[in-house]
Amino acid sequence: MPVASDISAPSRLFRSTAFRLTLLYMGVFAIFATAALGYVAWNARRLIEDQIRQTIDAEITGLSEQFRQGGIRRLVLAIEQRARGPGASLYLVTSPFGERLAGNVEQVPVGLLDRAGESEIPYARSADEGQGARPALAIVRVYVLPAGFRVLVGRDASERDRLRVVVRRAGGWALAVVLLLGVIGGFVIARRVLKRVDAMSATTLSIMASDLKERLPVSGNGDELDRLAINLNTMLDRIALLLGGLRQVSDNIAHDLKTPLTRLRNRADEALRPSASEADMRRALEGVTEDADNLIRVFNALLMIARLEAGQARETMAPFDATATTASVAELYEAVAEEAGVHLTCQIEPGITAIGSRELIGQALSNMLDNALKYGRPPAEGPFEVTLSLRRTGQGVAFTVADRGPGIPPEQRARALERFGRLDASRSQPGFGLGLSLVNAIAHIHGGALELTDHAPGLAVMLTIPAQPAGIGHAG
């Protein structure tokens, strides 16, 4: 299978959603990590600068104390002493006229000493003169003593700058590692996901190629791919069911329409026989017309069912007098029933209004009565009784036609509602098995239901549709 063998092709891996998602995630993570690191570095820098300032402040306080106690001499001595220590601060003392009196700083920018306060300057120490290829930065503070002497105290800020370098380098490496891991991780995850997706699509292909018997593999860990596979499997079940139904229907159509078509053909043949008299021909042609009419009737019923199932005619739903409709259909069939020796009993509740199409309900009742008259003959000796009833139920209106015939076993009731779903027992009887499926379609378009139940003995067919809520319309 070409699809499955392609798993490791890098281009497919790079194009996979899992890989892209991993990369995207890594990118977002890197941005946030950089921001966090930057924030930490900025805080550390501030901390270092604060420490430097505090040290400078303390030195200045100490030096001004020396000056207060012993004048400029003592201050110069203290500075020369301090300047010699290792890792010392920067010092510079000048006279009120700007002469250098003591300190370890050689040059300061012009005018720096004129203003009291803090600044940041490049500097060079007297000691490491000559090798100062790289001037360092220092934070310095100028303090004016009472007699006009100026003191500059400063501290090297390279520690602070070193921190920046360290952080930058560490951040860079970390980012590189993260990205590398991201690519590898994305690769691995994408490969894993792709493998499963490829397995699924391979199965799908073989399902399409075969007869919908196979199902997608479910790993059982309940992740989203599993859920997808389960849903697809459910969909396949439904499709298989529908296809089966369709196959059944078309089989039935082919089978049930072949008989009348063959008969039609035979009659035409009869008319074409050389020995046929004009009367024979006329009779044969009349038969042909009748057969054709029957076929047209079948197709009309099929079309109507299809339209009802497609939800057409829903806009014709309106409140109608269910009592009058039932009574008129009963009246229509009373004569036929009597002629056939059937005792038709009506139990019609007065004043019931239902919502729907009077025309369609009339047709449904007519089909239900038709069925009862055709198939409701009691198997043993006994009166042929059919009952038509209309009554209010909880939310709706129930039309019931019940007979005392052989009934339909529970397991066959669903089939009786299918198109051409004639039960084998009734195959010898005339009819096409469309009556109840049309009633079923009518029930559905009304938002109602059709139920076949045991009338013990016999069959009860109950059509339920919504009632007009009390208080609206007439005679609630």
């Binding site: 057409q312 014709t316 008129s328 259909v329 009246e331 229509l332 038709d370």
Partner: protein, 228 residues
């Protein structure tokens, strides 16, 4: 009777024109809506047979336009969309009758003939007493008698006879009876109408020398004084 058939399918139009001519009627044909409208406006037709789906001007618009011109020529709509709401739409547009395809020619013929006599029927709607030979029906007192003898009818039988007598001499089909007497438009599977007719026949024709309620083979029934 002069007929105009407005139908774009030339096969069925040719068949209809030929069939109507054989029945002794004058039938013209228009293949699209606009031509049909122009021909219908020219007037002189007793009935228009209009297909719903037509090129250049659809059937319902054609009927609506005619009705706006106060043209009251009876119109029968032919439609492949045989559905409850389609029928309602067609009749609302001003059609007088509606026949879903496929149909039997005998059904179309019977309906067109009844439509063509609609004016006469409208006049007879004014009458309170219908008479066919020695059969008499009084619509006000609801009394029916044959050769002076009262006949007792059920309410539905009365309406059935009333419709037959209103269209006396015309062929009426089973679906026409179901539509006009019971107000249902579906196709009953069994011979429900036949049984009602035979009961009515038993009441009005039994023991009479001349049967009035006749069966027309392959079409329906007719109430008339002489056999055709």
């Amino acid at each position: 009777m002069r007929l105009l058939i407005i139908e774009d399918d030339s096969d069925s139009a040719t068949y209809l024109v030929k069939a109507f001519r054989e029945e002794g009627h004058v039938a013209d044909h228009a293949a699209d809506g606009l031509t049909g409208y122009a021909m219908a406006e020219g007037g002189g037709y007793d009935v228009l047979v209009v297909d719903r789906m037509l090129p250049r001007m659809d059937g319902l618009s054609l009927i609506r336009s005619l009705r706006e011109q106060n043209d009251t020529t009876p119109v029968l709509i032919l439609s492949a969309l045989g559905q409850v709401d389609d029928r309602v739409k067609g009749l609302r547009a001003g059609g007088d009758d509606y026949l879903p395809k496929p149909y039997a020619f005998s059904e179309l013929l019977a309906r067109v003939e009844v439509l063509s006599r609609r004016r006469a029927a409208a006049a007879s709607a004014e009458q309170t007493i219908y008479r066919v030979a020695d059969l008499e029906l009084d619509r006000l007192t609801r009394r029916v008698s044959r050769a002076g003898e009262d006949i007792l009818l059920q309410p539905r039988e009365f309406r059935l006879l009333e419709y037959l007598m209103k269209n006396a001499g015309q062929v009426v089909t089973r679906t026409m009876l179901l539509e006009n007497v019971w107000d249902y438009h579906f196709d009953p599977q069994t011979n429900v109408i036949d049984v009602h007719i035979s009961r009515l026949r038993a009441k009005i024709d039994k023991g009479q020398a001349m049967p009035l309620l006749q069966t027309v083979r392959g079409a329906g029934y007719a109430l008339r004084a002489e056999a055709r």
